[in-house]
């Protein structure tokens, strides 16, 4: 059995992932490219005695060093040398798609074009002459329809055949006499660097140097060709060359197109008509808000019964273990520690899966691009990109899927900023704490108190975004240069796969961190051996006493401090912990709290503010670590949250104390 490696490349929104899924089926592996948070997907397929590995490169519009995605795609083709590169091309949008073709072709690798969505091009009345297109490009062109699995065998055969025909010359377009002369000069200079010349196509290096590509200049640095290359480059204006060469590439495409495609002239496509309504000046925002409200409702109401079921099952299992295993510490370790920890991971699954199914649907249909288009203006004013709206909204339900939903944000800084302010959106786990405390201490104004907390969370998120923009993440919001893809009807299988890949990533990556966090808290509550779980004598209780001076200015005693430590697992646990610490059930907790002279109404308000703002729960920390790729930002989020919570709880508590008779 012979093995070959295929790299899939293409613009975003061309059905590349669908084609990848259709090719490899369930034989897939999802991970990250080394060093970056860009997703790496590989899959396997057998065909005619060949074992084929398919690598799905990130979707890009070109192969400059513009973004992490482009660098990953380009480096893979150049450094890992796949046997053949398959570019997935959207048949309804040939002009811009072929721009990438001109760039991949310059890399001098065997190449095949999958002319995808061919059915849609035909449906709108376009006819494309595949044979002529292939002749002009000197690249085999295969008709595919990824959603229906059409053309896959032909594509694989073309790829296998192309992989075998070597050596390969790079087929490129001409850039005109002046530019070509400079390219030739540069290539000649570069040829003196034997090591470089062996690894990269000289013409490609020369073209990139002319475009002012720093990444390529770095490859030349330290080699014998540097002096000559620098002297040639110093005499030209790379900005001007860059524009000229981009223009030439598009010009070459424009010259080919009329000879291979008969395009049906349309006055207005269905997509256009839909956009007239969806992005209408008056209707656009209400439609957007209604869709978001629907997403939110579906995610949290549909998930709620599943979550209750999971909680009940976990609770039953923990109780069963507690009652049937000796000694007691082992039962507690298995019940409260392991089962509780796994439960903490699993309980979010209904939310995550449903939300990602809806988001996959919105994204694949093309609506997400419209949402960003509509919301960009107001969010830009706050220093956030338009795409930050959905994660912020989802944060009201649960910060875990919300932080994962930031993946659609392109700019690395924008995305980091959106992640860091997300925990201040008051998630639904904080609501039970508000209901208990507001209901107990402010029975008449409970609704207003809860509303105040939500608004405070939003205000802190906005203020933090402004603060981070002027300090740790300086600069403007990334430029907004976004394709508005035509609307498409997503297929169920694509959306389900999309959902599964995100959801399973959460279990594998964040899951272990959450489990460890829960086990640490369990150990604190259970040791030294023989103490009652979470009592004053346990390590958690000791830490509570130790922390008491720190939280005393906020009007909290050691019991509150312990409850807050437990809230680290999940904020709603604060309620249950207070119940344990006050020695009552949750039903009578209200009166126990009121009877405690150590906890004033002002302090209760301060406590709600503290619970709103202090450290993200262990699950949120797990996904922050996963999504930012570093503990640094997860740690920062915890520290920043604690400081902000302490300060605002102090201010709110003491201000309220003036009216309520002391904290």
């Amino acid at each position: 059995m012979r093995e070959i490696r295929i790299a899939l490349t293409g613009n975003p929104n061309v059905g590349k992932t669908t084609l990848f899924n259709a090719l490899t089926g369930s034989r897939q592996h999802v991970g990250n490219w080394p060093g970056v948070t860009v997703e790496k997907k590989t899959g396997r397929v057998s065909h005619n005695g060949y074992e084929i590995e398919v690598v799905d490169l990130p979707g890009t519009y070109s192969l400059t060093a513009y973004s992490a995605d482009e660098v990953v795609a380009r480096d893979y083709i150049l450094e890992e040398r796949p046997d053949v590169v398959v570019q997935v091309v959207d048949a309804t949008n040939l002009e811009r798609n072929l721009y990438l073709t001109t760039q991949v072709a310059e890399l001098g690798v065997p190449m095949v074009i999958a002319l995808n969505m061919a059915d849609m091009a035909e449906a709108q009345g376009d006819t494309i002459d595949l044979a002529r297109l292939s002749e002009f490009l000197e690249i085999p062109v295969v008709r595919t329809v990824g959603t229906r699995g059409e053309g896959l065998d032909t594509l694989l055969e073309a790829a296998i055949k192309e992989a075998a025909t070597s050596p390969h010359h790079e087929h490129t377009i001409g850039y005109g006499d002046d530019v070509e002369a400079t390219i030739a000069m540069l290539a000649d200079a570069l040829s003196t660097d034997i090591d470089l010349a062996r690894r990269y196509p000289l013409r490609w290096l020369a073209v990139k140097l002319l475009e002012g590509d720093e990444n390529v200049l770095d490859k030349v640095r330290g080699g014998p060709a540097l002096a000559r290359v620098e002297s040639i480059l110093s005499s030209i204006d790379s900005d001007e060359y860059e524009a000229m060469m981009a223009d030439k590439r598009y010009e070459a495409i424009s010259a080919i197109l009329p000879q291979v495609r008969k395009a049906n002239v349309r006055n207005m496509s269905p997509s256009d008509m839909l956009d007239r309504v969806v992005t209408d000046r008056y209707l656009g925002i209400p439609i957007f808000l209604a869709l978001m409200w629907g997403t939110f409702q579906l995610t949290f109401t549909v998930a709620a019964p599943f979550m209750t079921m999971i909680e009940a099952a976990v609770g039953w299992l923990a109780e069963f273990v507690a009652g049937s295993i000796e000694p007691a510490w082992l039962a507690s370790f298995l019940g409260d520690g392991i089962i509780g920890g796994v439960g903490a991971v699993v309980v979010f699954l209904p939310n995550i899966f449903i939300l990602f199914l809806i988001l996959a649907f919105l994204e694949d249909s093309g609506y997400l691009a419209r949402a960003a288009f509509i919301m960009d203006r107001p969010l830009y004013a706050l220093g956030l990109p338009g795409k930050a709206f959905i994660p912020m909204l989802v944060g009201f339900g649960c910060n875990v899927p919300a932080i994962m939903a930031t993946r659609s944000i392109e700019g690395e800084k924008d995305r980091l900023l959106t992640i860091l302010v997300n925990p201040f959106m008051s998630c639904s786990a904080r609501l039970p704490v508000y209901i208990l405390l507001a209901g107990t201490f402010f029975p008449e104004q409970a609704g207003s108190v809860v509303f105040f907390l939500y608004v405070l969370g939003i205000a802190v998120a906005i203020a933090s975004a402004k603060l981070f923009r002027s300090t740790i993440l300086p600069g403007e919001v990334s430029p907004f240069v976004m394709e508005m893809p035509p609307y498409r009807i997503p297929t169920a299988i694509t959306s389900l796969r999309h959902m599964w890949s995100r959801g399973s990533m959460y279990i594998r990556k964040a899951g272990s961190i959450i489990l460890i966090g829960v086990l640490v808290v369990w150990a604190l509550a259970s040791f030294p051996l023989g103490v009652e779980y979470g009592s004053a004598e346990s390590f958690a209780g000791m830490i509570g006493h130790l922390l008491e001076p720190l939280v005393a200015p906020l009007g909290f005693d050691w019991k509150v401090a312990v409850a807050l430590i437990f809230g680290f697992i999940a904020k709603e646990i604060v309620v249950g912990s207070l119940g344990v610490l006050y020695g009552t059930g949750e039903e009578t907790l209200s009166s126990a709290l009121l009877a405690d002279p150590g906890l004033s109404a002002a302090a209760a308000l301060a406590l709600m503010v503290f619970v709103l703002l202090y450290t993200p729960c262990v699950a949120a920390i797990g996904v922050i670590r996963q999504e930012t790729g570093s503990w640094k930002w997860a740690g920062f989020s915890v520290a920043y949250g604690l400081v902000v919570a302490w300060l605002l709880a102090f201010v709110v508590g003491h201000s309220a104390g003036l009216f309520l008779g002391g904290i």
């Binding site: 524009a243 598009y250 509509i374």
Partner: protein, 88 residues
């Protein structure tokens, strides 16, 4: 013969000043670095014909049709693209 196309029409302006439904032709891109590369890759090359499709509900960003597809840009980015107006 003497004068190239662009000078027959109006004087150069920037893309953010073109009205809805109007067409124009790109003369140059004044952006630098990564943004410049991105705009060029997206088809905003000298000579490209651009149609202003519509603005977002709050007036910014704006959607344009270029090279057979739709692209949206903020006013800030559109103001970096020099164009000559070609009428409706």
């Amino acid at each position: 013969m003497e004068s190239p196309d662009s000078e027959e029409h109006t004087t150069p302006t920037t893309l953010d000043r073109i009205g809805h439904g109007c067409r124009c032709r790109v003369v140059g891109v004044r952006a630098a670095g990564a943004l410049r590369k991105r705009m060029l890759a997206m088809g905003m090359v000298p000579g490209a014909e651009v149609e202003v499709v519509r603005a977002a509900p709050l007036g910014d960003p704006t959607e344009y049709r270029v090279k057979g597809y739709c692209l949206s840009l903020r006013r800030a980015e559109a103001s970096l693209i020099e164009v000559t107006e070609e009428g409706r």
